[in-house]
């Protein structure tokens, strides 16, 4: 598996897109810090960017890479290697290279502006963790889609639709349902609903940092307990890890029976 991971990884590392992705974060990080010279504000802006961008890039990259390396995969499948190992290796290869671009691309500017000497290090690590988790989640989801659809165009369409669903449509449905059922107690529902979407989960991590004063304005005891203590952070992180695990399981399960 390590060998396949290494192949995928080095293949991607050599590709132009990884560097463009890395360059984008480098420029974004440096420009942000150059413009306001304030680490905490930079982190807040980046959190907003990352919540939308990493899932999108993860989705597109995952599905594109999987379709492009289809012939290589078929070649590998002819060898005496376990099937699950091949797919897992490829998955980790893509996710790791994307995460690395993210971590290096944001890490360098913040290092240059002295993140270790400021009190913002915890928030910055939080930013990187949520970005990395989102990458892993959405690459896994997109590979699943690619595994289920051998038609490239269809698979690509579904992948984009999935991103759109999690980024926009899901929130729209939640908002509509909350307005429709506004006469009922909704605080449990609101929390559970946002736990079922990884983008919403990462967004809540941002809210905990930025808008805690507004969140504490709501009367529900559950909200108070969730947002007022550190348990909110803990549960969100825990749930984010679950979100990585589930699509990977699905991927492994599917790869066992996938017949090219």
């Amino acid at each position: 598996m390590i060998k396949i991971l290494k192949y995928s990884f080095s293949d991607l590392m050599r590709s132009r897109w990884s560097f463009i992705y890395l360059g984008f974060y480098l420029i974004l990080g440096f420009v942000l810090l150059f413009l306001n010279n304030d680490l905490s504000k930079g982190i807040i802006t980046l959190m907003n960017v990352i919540v939308v961008l990493t899932p999108m890039i993860g989705t597109i990259f995952g599905v594109m890479y999987f379709y492009n390396s289809r012939e290589f995969t078929e070649l590998l499948l002819a060898q005496p290697v376990k099937r699950s190992v091949i797919f897992l290796g490829q998955y980790l290869g893509i996710s790791l290279s994307l995460s690395l671009s993210l971590i290096i691309g944001l890490g360098l500017p913040f290092l240059a502006y002295g993140i270790f000497r400021s009190g913002e290090i915890a928030n910055f690590i939080m930013l990187l963790i949520s970005g990395t988790c989102l990458t892993f989640i959405f690459v896994a989801l997109s590979i699943n889609i690619a595994l289920f659809n051998s038609n490239k165009i269809k698979g690509f369409g579904y992948a984009i639709l999935m991103w759109l669903f999690f980024a926009v449509i899901y929130d729209a449905l939640i908002l509509l349902s909350m307005i429709v059922f506004e006469d009922y107690p909704l605080d449990n529902y609101a929390l559970v609903a946002s736990f079922l979407n990884p983008i919403d989960l990462s967004r809540i991590l941002i809210l905990l940092k930025l808008d805690i004063s507004a969140l504490l304005g709501y009367t529900g005891a559950l909200f108070q307990r969730f947002f007022g203590t550190s348990s909110g952070l803990l549960y969100s992180l825990l749930m984010l890890t679950c979100w990585v695990a589930i699509p990977v399981m699905l991927l492994l399960n599917r790869s066992r029976s996938k017949d090219f």
């Binding site: 506004e182 919403d200 304005g217």
Partner: protein, 411 residues
């Protein structure tokens, strides 16, 4: 008047300051009890109390005099009643540590109680473990300066206020620190008074509570971490300047609550990280200018019955919601402020954005209706509906715009 009589009057006047003597109270002195010293002193005398622990229960002072506590002078009320009652004009109490007034559900026992007096000065005392700290009723032209009132209150119904004034005029309350009480500073029917440079924090209810008090000024105070912030109610001609309202978090918590306030001025204040920066309810003709609203949940929430209020030259930076309205009616103006979420441009370089800014977002209207939707804050979809509402307002007041939003933050 004959020369002789004139001379006699002259000598009498020269002699009067001379009768002001100083009495020292200490454990080994001839007078070791403060009650005895107060009894024996003449009007205008000074009583100097050396370091030591004195039990003082319900001591009424009915003559003008000065009581000075040297460092370490502790007056203990033994948990019975009032500690000191100042019932005459021109009394000065300075430098004492006062503790253990009684507690009661029917009487407002206080460490220092002032009733119907003029020119009383309460200076640099420390009050702790008492029911009320400093309680003034019907006093005028008095000073409360540099005191520290500490409490350990946890419930509203079992605790008293730090500095409590009722029916007073021309009082100066400066440089005091109050914490752990019910209300830090409470004023009811108090006119023409100045409250400045006080630090009121961690009180169970309000940091400052103002009722039916007119023509007052409060400046340079800091209100932090209070249960419900600062409440100013049913008052006219109040000036609030250069105060700081910080970290008042909770479901019914404000930086500043203005209820039925007319003709006030709110200038140069800073509101940082409050659930609600200012909650305006039924107020008219109040000017808000040069205030800073930093990272509040709601910077300003305007409720019904607010007319002719003017917001100008304020900084709104990083608030979850800048302005929130609960209706489509608007009679207030919001011109010439700096909004950190303003995204317009300034082509003619006059320092004001060319596109008007709409401070009321559709999402704030939705959150007013269905509070649980707050979890969707900062979602991409919410940004989209806010944008569409901005283009054609349907739910928010369509005349509520800042025509000349500043491009630069006000210093």
């Amino acid at each position: 008047m004959s020369t002789r009589a004139f001379m006699a009057l002259f000598w009498l006047m020269a002699w009067i300051p001379g009768i002001s003597t100083e009495i020292t109270v200490c454990d080994e002195c001839s007078i070791s009890s403060i009650a005895v010293a107060v009894e024996e002193a003449n009007a205008g005398d000074t009583i100097r109390v050396s370091a030591g622990h004195y039990t003082v229960e319900n001591l009424g002072i009915t003559k003008p005099m000065t009581l000075i506590g040297e460092p370490g002078a502790i007056l203990d009320g033994a948990n019975t009643s009032y500690v000191l009652r100042l019932l005459s004009d021109s009394i000065t109490i300075a430098g004492f540590e006062i503790t253990n007034s009684g507690r009661s559900y029917t009487k407002d026992y206080a460490a220092i109680y002032v009733y119907d007096s003029k020119m009383v000065q309460v200076i640099e005392n420390t009050v702790h473990d008492s029911f009320f700290g400093i309680l003034m009723e019907k006093a005028t032209q008095s000073v409360i300066r540099g005191n520290k009132v500490m409490g350990t209150a946890t419930r509203e119904d079992q605790s008293g206020n730090g500095i409590h004034l009722w029916h007073c005029e021309e009082i100066e309350i400066t440089n005091n620190e109050v914490f752990g009480m019910r209300d830090g500073i409470y004023l009811e029917f108090v006119d023409e008074s100045r409250i400045s440079r006080n630090y009121s924090h961690n009180n169970v209810r309000y940091g400052l509570h103002f009722m039916f008090s007119n023509h007052d000024t409060y400046t340079d105070n800091t209100f932090q971490h209070n249960g419900a912030g600062v409440a100013v109610m049913f008052s006219k001609w109040i000036r609030m300047e250069r105060n700081r309202f910080e970290e008042n978090w909770g479901t019914a918590s404000y930086g500043l609550l203005l209820k039925e306030i007319y003709d006030g001025e709110v200038l140069d204040n800073t509101f940082t990280e409050n659930t609600l920066g200012i909650f305006v309810d039924g107020s008219a003709r109040v000017n808000y200018s040069h205030n800073n609203f930093l990272q509040n949940g709601w910077a300003v929430k305007v409720s019904g019955g607010c007319y002719a209020n003017v917001f100008t030259g304020n900084n709104f930076i990083g608030n979850s919601f800048d302005i929130s309205y609960n209706s489509r009616m608007n009679d207030n103006t919001f011109n010439g402020n700096f909004w950190s979420s303003y995204s317009g441009y300034d082509l003619d370089k006059n320092g004001m954005g060319d596109v008007p800014y709409r401070p009321v977002k559709l999402f704030s209207y939705i959150v007013n209706r269905t509070p649980e939707t707050i979890v969707l804050l900062r979602s991409l979809f919410v940004d989209m509906i806010n944008f569409s509402e901005k283009v054609s307002p349907a739910f928010t007041p369509d005349d509520l715009i800042d025509d000349s939003p500043s491009m630069k933050r006000f210093k």
